[in-house]
């Protein structure tokens, strides 16, 4: 009955935008951090991983949602994993066909999208309980949010670690690159810094809201997530 109610709710803009910022998979839900830390040493790699994840997320959510009434509860996780693995295999072939260089750069992380908890999590928590259209829209939002986070990390790391952005030299040649930024510790440093910055502004925003609410004798304040 609860599921039925969820399915009945209309598709709103919130379904799409929630994943981009309010429920961002990286900055809020902290999901799929393995590729976030591993492949974000350049914007190009981040974009490619983000687009591959969007493809897998949207296609697997669409199929899970379309088949949700036919999949028995007892075999649902197995079925979701087969569906996700199928789309990951497809994206693996497609990237090889588009660019071998890119495929070599991303290494094993393309195949590892199978175990990205964001994708299985969305299949189980959302697509299996919601209508086809809603699942696709939500997956698209989540995928874009994931890509945005990857690019935000990749941009900073490439800029500071190589003095470049998308392969174009930004700083002068005298700039001494911060090699640590394109090494694994750089992933943790930049992710931590972004989280610090985002939470700082969110807390300031929440604080302002609370102050305004108090001023107008209103007691309700809405946290971001």
């Amino acid at each position: 009955m609860a599921n039925q109610n969820k399915e009945d709710t209309p598709i709103t803009m919130d379904v799409f935008t929630a994943g981009i910022w309010k429920e961002n998979p990286v900055f809020v839900m902290m999901l799929g951090l393995c590729p976030v830390l591993a492949v974000t040493n350049s914007v190009e790699n981040s974009l490619a991983m983000g687009l591959a994840s969007i493809f897998v997320l949207v296609c697997s959510n669409a199929l899970v949602s379309a088949l949700r009434n036919f999949i028995p509860k007892q075999v649902r996780i197995t079925t979701y994993i087969i569906i996700i693995a199928t789309f990951v295999t497809l994206v693996d072939y497609i990237i090889q066909a588009i660019s071998l260089d890119l495929y070599n750069k991303l290494g094993a992380f393309i195949q590892l999208i199978v175990v990205n908890c964001l994708i299985l999590g969305r299949a189980e928590a959302f697509a299996s309980k919601n209508s086809f259209g809603k699942s696709v829209i939500s997956a698209l939002g989540m995928g874009l949010g994931f890509t945005l986070a990857l690019v935000m990390l990749g941009g900073v790391r490439e800029l500071l670690g190589a003095g470049q952005l998308l392969g174009y030299q930004v700083f002068s040649l005298n700039f001494q690159p911060w090699i640590v930024m394109i090494l694994p510790p750089g992933g943790f440093i930049v992710l931590g810094s972004w989280l610090l910055l985002i939470n700082y502004f969110e807390q300031r925003k929440t604080g302002k809201l609370v102050a305004e609410d108090s001023a107008s004798h209103c007691t309700v304040s809405q946290p971001r997530s």
């Binding site: 999949i71 075999v75 087969i82 199928t86 072939y93 090889q96 066909a97």
Partner: protein, 239 residues
Amino acid sequence: MDNAPENEPNKVPPLPSSISLISTLGVVAMLSGFLVVLVYEYTKPIIAENQRLATERAIFKVLPKASSRLTFVIKDGQIKLADDKTKGELIYAGYDAKNNFVGLALNAAEQGYQDIVKLLYGYQPDTGCITGYDVLKSTETPGFGTKIATDEQFLANFNCLDATVNQEQSGLINVIKTVRHGSKNNPWEIDAISGSTITSNAVGRMFNKSGQALHPTINKNLDLLKSAKQQRGDHGQSK
């Protein structure tokens, strides 16, 4: 207590039949197989073409004077004309516009810091020199191991790295080895990159291994390699 009411809220719902579970998995697996085969068949020729182009690009990079090339395979100490799909140790001979032999491109691989590093290198059998390489596959640490493709001082080692075959045609006269940065004294030594010793050592080891295994066979069959293009006329892959 024995006769619990049928509409008890915590009652476990009945399990679906095994047939239902198996058929669900079967249908999903079939659908999955169909999609994978469909995309595999569509992308297979494109991927093969990409791989061919990547190899071609690398060959003409390490043999800049070549305008066409032929593929050979080394098997049981013999060199035979082959194509790119042949299994085994493939070597590529480059020829100029007049079908004169200009050198060989050979594969080499060795474990680096992160994973196997694969190179294609140019070899001049007449002078016994290794004359440069192209990195085919490397996942080495950015800013350190990746310098093997960009560090000018390191690449200068391969203007003519000595890989001459001994008189007995059993191996190289001198073992190719990587030495500490700044301590290179001989033409068969490779001056390591400071800070990426493991990858530099891997390059030295792979050239030595490849040289010891392939160069003697190449020297024994040099006439075949030099004359193959002229005997075949205009056949072979061009730039």
